[in-house]
Every structure is written in C-alpha cells, then in structure tokens.
C-alpha cells in the first residue's frame, strides 16, 4: 500500500465527530496560548501534556499538534494588531504587519498573514506526506552509531546555524544533556548527579524546564516592559477578506520562495524563527521596489508567515521519521510520544502506521480548521489582551504551577519551575538560546544510549563513527555544520571584498 492509501486510512481515522471536536478545542487553546504573553507554543503544549496521559495517543497527538498550529496563528495575530510578537517566530511579521494594520487595513493584514500561513503549513504537510516514509525506510538501516551521528548532526547544526553565540549555544545544549542524566541511570541502575537529594532521583522532567524557562521566564521579561497593550481595534469584514483573497496570487513567488526556505529550515533544526527572518530578508532583497518595506508591504507579511508555518509543520518530519525534533515544540511533543509509550523514529511507521498517518491527516484538516477559526475569532482574542496584566499575569502563573504539579504530583517540581524561571529570564536577556536546552533534555537519554551502545560495539574506540560510508557521511556533515560559521565568514569576506572592488571601479 502506498503513502496515498495510508493517508486515506488516516483521514478515515481522523474524520470523526470526536476528533474534529478535539481539533477545534486544540486550535482554540492554541490561539489563546499564542495570544497571551508568556505562554508560547512550547509552554502551552507542555501544560496540556500531563492532561493527555489518560487519552488514547491519536486523540492526544491531534490535540497537541492542533494546539501548536493554533499557537502559530495566535502569535501572528498579536504581531499584527499589537506589535507584540506572541511567539519569537512571528517577530518578523511585526515589521510590516503592524504598519499595515495601523493604516486602517487590519483585516487585509490579518487575512494575508493567515492565508499565507495556511498555504505554508499545507505545503509542509504535503512534503511530510511525500517524504516521511522514504526517510523512515532509509533510517531503518541505522544502528546505534548512525543514530548518534544524526543527533550529533542535529546539535552541530544548532551551533553552526544559530544566530546566537556558539559558546552560549554549546553551554545551553550541554546543560540540557546534564539535566537529562540526573536521576536513575537506565543501564547500570545507579544514581547520577542527584547530590544526595531524594527529590532528584526521579530526574528533572523536560516539561518542568519548559514551563520555567519559556513560561515564567517570559512573564518576568514581560513585566519589565510595562504592562499596557495598545492594540488596534479589528473587525474582520467578509468583503475585505474576499478582496484580499483575490490579491493573493500576486504574491505567488514570495510564497513559493518562503515555502522552500521554511521547509528546509524546519527539517534542519534551525526552526521557524530563523526561517521567518531569513524569508523576510530575502523578500526584501529580491523586491524591485524596496521603499514600502517596513511601512506595510504585503510581501513583508506573506513571506515571514509562509516560512514560519511551513517550518513549524516541517519540524515534525525529522521528529516522526528519525526521532530528532526540529523545534522546541516538536521536542516537547516527542517527549509526549515517549510518555504515551510510542518510540518516535523509523519503527513507528511500521509498528503504528495508524498513528503516523492519523497525525499527518489531522495536520491537513487541522490547519484548514485553524485558518477558518482564527479568521472568525480574531476580535474575541484581541479583546483578551486588553484585560489588564494584573489579572492575566497571576492567572497564567497559577496555570503554570498547577500544570507543573500535575507532571508528577511533586511539590519539589514547583521550586524547580521557579528556579528555571529565574534562569529563563537571565538567559533570555543575555541571548542564550533556550531551544537547544529543551531538545537536549528530550534527546539526552537516547543520545547517551546510542553513544554507549556504539562504544560497546567498538570497545571504546571512537573510530566506530567513521566505520562505514553512511555514518561517516552523517558525521562529516555534522562537522561541516559545526565549522559553517567560519566558512560563511570566509565566503562573506570574499564577497564583500569583491563588491568593494566593483564599486571602486565604477
């Protein structure tokens, strides 16, 4: 049976009253989480995760993934109406989205954003439909050294492609690995890094880290900025929506280019934030008339939105097929999969095709549902941001701590969240990237197991990572990613020198 057959089965699983209701609920919660300050997609999914332990995995993943889509849309809404990016990945949307909304074209800006986001997301899902089983089949030949090499590649590209300082990225990533090793060692059964604290024996959950770093840290940062949100009143009129839809084909090239950028950045762990910035930058560079950028150029809305959402959806491909998530939110979802007793990676396609294709089918429907819902409910969500922070802030704090308690019914976790919150605030202000820490916490055990098994196979010799063409190729690619900044500077230097030479001639 081909992918198409599986996909149809997936649709059959997903199109039931029960699942559609879950989708709507997920999208609505997601938009809410995306709109509220301090609650982003990773944090929202973490808060919802403990509530899904009793659900069946298909319903649970539909709920969580739809929340992710909703949060991406919610983030764009606040970017456009309030000039406050609800998500880091929608920062680029504020550049042109807010000016357009301020000039009285709020509906046009929102429609452009949502439609291009929807197109980007659907393109990402189609890519997953076409490629995932191929990637999974390829990954079936992997054994421990290859898996470790893939993890190495993922983390190397974080260091090489990230916009933050490489040393800071390294520190965050390794802190994540260190947190993952706290507690019982799965191979020897001994306790590690617990420093005599009994509360640490069960380990540090990545959910606790996400709630503190993303949730509380973000809130503390928000309080600093003063707490008045001045937004633009938006009433979505159907006639404006239709008029904007008619102008969409004009941005075909921007959408196509941004989709490709988004899909690439989503599959590699660069993630949606980098994708949206890069796409915005390229849209500006390729535009013949640059004068309108920053003042409400439609291409400045369409490009980052398309890239953001196609990267967001594409991030699920490496998570499903390889077990390596492409973004912080995907990492949290992958952690969820493991808690539900599923092993992300190539075997998932063989063991649970109903789960994989149910999820993929739900991504098609979920994104369509999300576009429709977000267009109709924007005014409602915009009004939530007008509720004073002295109410919204404490409620969010209470939700975060209630969520943290539910992970393991442990009061110690509450203090951990507080600690992570303080560090999240500190790290954010000093430009330490947080996503690598979360990724490393989720992948830590798997990466370490892969490493130790490889070492066992080779009796402690590192040459096993260069023992066959496949593993060598992945390791070489990883090393290339690691030194990429150096190469890029070298090329960039040459390029700028050439340009300088040309201008001197002219």
């Amino acid at each position: 049976m081909g992918n198409f057959g599986y996909l149809m089965d997936g649709f059959a699983t997903v199109i039931t009253m029960h699942h559609i209701v879950i989708m709507i609920a997920g999208v609505m919660l997601g938009i809410l989480v995306g709109v509220l300050p301090g609650l982003g997609a990773p944090n929202g999914v973490s808060l919802l995760l403990p509530l899904t332990f009793t659900m069946d995995p298909i319903s649970a993943i539909i709920l969580l993934s739809c929340m992710y889509w909703g949060a991406l849309f919610g983030g764009s809404t606040t970017s456009i109406l309030f000039n406050i990016p609800g998500e880091p990945s929608s920062v680029a949307t504020t550049f042109d989205g807010y000016p357009m909304a301020r000039s009285g074209q709020a509906t046009r800006a929102l429609t452009l954003a949502f439609m291009s986001a929807g197109i980007g997301a659907l393109a990402g899902v189609m890519m997953i439909t076409l490629l995932s089983s191929w990637v999974a089949r390829f990954a079936l030949q992997f054994s421990s050294p290859e898996f470790f090499a893939v993890y190495f590649l993922a983390f190397a590209s974080f260091i090489g492609m990230g916009s933050n300082s490489a040393a800071k990225t390294l520190v965050m990533m390794m802190l994540g690995f260190a947190f993952a090793t706290v507690g019982m060692d799965t191979i020897s059964g001994g306790l590690r890094l617990t420093f005599g604290l009994t509360d640490l024996i069960k380990g540090v959950s990545f959910l606790v880290a996400v709630m503190g770093l993303f949730g509380l840290g973000e809130l503390l940062l928000t309080t600093e900025e003063g707490l008045r949100f001045e937004g633009i009143k938006a009433r979505v009129r159907a006639i404006d929506v239709v008029r904007t839809l008619k102008e969409m084909p004009r941005y075909g090239w921007s959408i196509l280019r941004s989709t490709i950028i988004g899909i690439w950045m989503g599959i590699t762990p660069a993630g949606p934030t980098a994708a949206s910035f890069m796409s915005y930058g390229l849209a500006r560079r390729f535009a013949k008339d640059k004068s309108q950028f920053g003042k409400g150029d439609p291409r400045g809305i369409v490009s980052p939105e398309t890239a953001d959402h196609s990267a967001g959806t594409s991030a699920l491909l490496p998570m499903l097929a390889l077990g390596v998530p492409g973004s912080a939110t995907a990492a949290v979802m992958m952690g969820g999969l493991m808690i539900w007793g599923l092993t992300p990676g190539p075997m998932l396609f063989i063991d649970r095709p109903d789960f994989v294709w149910g999820l993929i089918a739900s991504m098609y429907i979920g994104n369509v549902v999300a576009v429709l819902l977000v267009l109709t409910t924007v005014p409602l969500y915009a009004s939530i941001l007008r509720v004073p922070f002295s109410i919204v802030g404490p409620v969010i704090v209470a939700i975060i701590f209630s969520g943290a308690y539910q992970i393991a019914n442990s009061t110690f976790d509450l203090w951990l969240v507080l600690g992570f919150g303080v560090f999240g605030y500190l790290f954010k202000k000093l430009d330490y990237p947080i996503a690598p820490l979360v990724l490393a916490m989720v992948l830590g055990d798997k990466a370490e197991d892969a490493f130790r098994q490889s070492m066992l196979m080779s009796n402690g010799s590192l040459t096993i990572f260069w023992s066959n063409p496949l593993v060598s190729a992945i390791m070489a690619l990883g090393l290339l990613m690691l030194v990429w900044p150096l190469i890029a500077t070298a090329i960039g230097l040459r390029g700028s020198r050439r340009r300088a030479g040309q201008s001197a001639k002219a």
Partner: protein, 166 residues
C-alpha cells in the same frame, strides 16, 4: 562609557556572573559524574563516562563566554536592568514565591485564590468584592477543568480535607 543610573546593573556584570554560574554547574556535573565512575566498567562505559564530558564542555563553553565578556568590549555601556524595571520584576516575582509557600501549606486551590485576590487588590487596585469573585472563579474553574474534566488531582491542603473534597 554611558552613565548608569543609581541601582542599575550593567550587562557585562551579568554576562560574567552567568558565565561563572554555568561554569559552576559544569564543575558540579563533572564532580557528580566522577563519583559515579567515569571509567570503563564490565558493562562498557561507566555511568559517569558520558556526563563527565558534558560537564567538561559546559566549562569550556562558559570559559569562552567569560573571557569574551571580560576582554571584548561588546556590551560596554549596555544596561542589564535599571532600578525601575528591577522593581517591577520583583513586584511580580516575590508574590509568586509567597504563592508557592502558601500553596505548600494550604494546597494549590486556596493558594491560587489568595494569590489572585492579592495581586488584583494590591497591584491592580480593584474593589475587594471583584477580587474575591475573580479569585473564587479561577479556583473553581481549575477544579472543574482538572479534577472533573481531566481527572488529574491538584495539590490539596487541610481546607479541602475539612470540606471533604478529595
């Protein structure tokens, strides 16, 4: 160099403090792993083998950041936080600490209600009956969503016990 207001902290200081903190974390990871055995056991690499090198990398990365913040003048004149902002951050943070301590004794439902009441009353300046209504509404909503909807228990204290709610 820019003039600092009274009570403001420079970015450079915080960069150095944070780098020192992460190096300390790296050192404790190394120490902890060393205690679990970083060598080779009969079952292959020991339990501390992998985390030991993680700790080493944390220290290396922190040292690079530390040296860069000390010797490069990138953040010179940049302010991490000034007095006014620090006050509003602490004004938000300290009530959270109080909320946690109260919740440990009285449970999360009562803790939440008190915390929301207090924040609305003293930071939002609302009338007391609005604050009470909002606080009760949020706690009741939590109860409905968590205990009834998803059937996951939240931390409870003596008051729930006394009321007979489990």
């Amino acid at each position: 160099m820019a003039e600092f207001d009274k009570g403001s902290v420079s970015r450079r200081t915080m960069e150095i403090v944070t780098a020192l903190l992460t190096s300390a974390a790296g050192l404790s990871v190394c120490y902890g792993s060393w205690r679990s055995g970083i060598g080779w056991s009969e079952m292959g690499p020991g339990a501390g083998y992998f985390p030991f090198y993680i700790g080493v990398l944390i220290i290396l990365g922190s040292l690079v950041t530390l040296l860069r913040s000390i010797f490069l003048s990138r953040f010179r004149g940049e302010i991490f936080i000034d007095g006014k902002r620090a006050r509003s951050v602490f004004g938000f943070f300290l009530p959270i600490v109080a909320f946690l301590i109260v919740s440990l004794f009285l449970g999360l439902y009562i803790g939440t209600a008190l915390y929301i009441f207090a924040s609305m009353k003293w930071q939002g300046g609302y009338r007391w009956w609005i604050c009470i209504l909002a606080a009760l509404a949020v706690s009741a909503l939590f109860y409905i969503v968590f205990e009834i909807g998803f059937q996951v228990p939240l931390l409870k204290g003596p008051v729930e016990n006394w009321l007979g709610i489990y």
